[in-house]
């Protein structure tokens, strides 16, 4: 929670429940769109993402300050959950049968509780792979490529527009193109 949000009373579970149940079809479609969009970037399904975000909002694990738009709150909750799944990639590896010294008997090799160096490396490689796959989508469009790269470097808004040297209309259009191309490239979400 941001420091300036701390003094604002959070919405109660009943408030969130009521607000969501009162959503229009477009509202639900917007939430679904956010979930799908994030599922294109992280190894999680849109449905799971939405379900988990709703659960956290309803059980109080995540609290929505009353001055924050509910869509923005749920969008940020989903983004945070999605990002954590990348951190947790390979956090729960399967148990493997390993042979002992004489090779006759097998034993289970339990995974470490904490991510080790190897796991951290795998996780970082996965993030690098996804990032590169996204950038590769725009190999034929240098401006979009620069724009995506800029966003990934933390640029946004006017700074990013100036960087791409596009006027406002062309810039808005390019942003849409980027979003749509990512969606089309991974229609079923990101699959490692």
């Amino acid at each position: 929670m941001a420091p300036n949000e701390s003094a604002v009373a959070p919405l109660s579970t009943a408030d969130i429940d009521a607000a969501l149940l009162a959503l229009s079809d477009v509202g639900w479609a917007r939430l679904r769109k956010i979930a799908c969009s994030l599922a294109h970037l992280y190894p999680i399904e849109a449905e799971d993402l939405l379900h988990e975000a709703c659960c956290r909002a309803l059980d109080g694990r995540r609290r929505c300050p009353s001055n924050v738009d509910l869509f923005r709150f749920l969008g940020e909750a989903m983004r945070s959950i999605a990002s954590d799944t990348l951190k947790a990639v390979n956090r729960h590896p399967e148990l493997h049968l390993v042979s002992d010294a004489d090779g006759e008997e097998n034993a289970y090799d339990p995974p470490d509780e904490q991510p080790g160096t190897e796991e951290t490396l795998i996780r970082e490689q996965e993030a690098a792979r996804i990032k590169q796959a996204i950038l590769n989508l725009f190999e034929d469009d240098p401006v979009a490529n620069i724009m995506v790269d800029g966003i990934m470097e933390g640029m946004d808004g006017e700074e990013l527009r100036a960087f791409t040297e596009l006027d406002k209309t062309a810039f808005a259009s390019k942003r849409k193109l980027i979003k749509r191309r990512i969606e089309k490239a991974f229609p079923d979400g990101w699959t490692p």
Binding site: R30, A127, A128, I134, R175, I182
Partner: protein, 146 residues
């Protein structure tokens, strides 16, 4: 355990935040147009998403129920530990013990032997003394209430 995100992970997070922002900034008309352009039915999409939310309500309800059950179990266990022994049962128990152990009875004062003038507290105290002396096994306070 918190680990620092790699630069690539942070890069993805920034792109994700930007995409989410774009969706949040779309007008309702733009959103509807995009759903239709994807060849999807807005009503069906809305219903499917609402279903996910309703499943989340069920999931949370079950979790709350499980937590409540756990809390009740915990309270019951706590209550059973603080139950006070029943004074009448304790008095009957003392009487029975003293009958079974006449040598102990002979050491008591006349009043105590007759069970006269003993307060509930005296009875409990005597039972505890007898327990400490090993005359009787440890007192089961719960049994006294049954």
């Amino acid at each position: 355990m918190t680990r620092k995100k790699s630069n690539d992970h942070l890069a993805l997070d920034r792109l994700a935040a930007s995409l989410v922002d774009d969706i949040l900034n779309m007008t309702d008309e733009e959103m509807l147009a995009e759903v239709v352009a994807d060849g999807e039915d807005p009503k069906r999409i809305a219903q499917e998403t609402k279903d996910i939310f309703e499943r989340a309500i069920t999931t949370c309800g079950k979790a709350r129920l499980a937590a409540a059950r756990k809390s009740i179990r915990s309270d019951r266990q706590k209550d059973s530990r603080v139950l006070q022994p029943n004074p009448n049962a304790a008095r009957q128990k003392l009487e029975k013990i003293l009958k079974q152990h006449p040598e102990t009875l002979s050491k008591l004062t006349l009043a105590a032997r007759n069970g006269e003038g003993l307060s509930d507290s005296d009875v409990f105290s005597m039972l505890e003394d007898l327990e400490e002396l090993g005359v009787i096994p440890p007192i089961e306070k719960q049994d006294d209430n049954e």
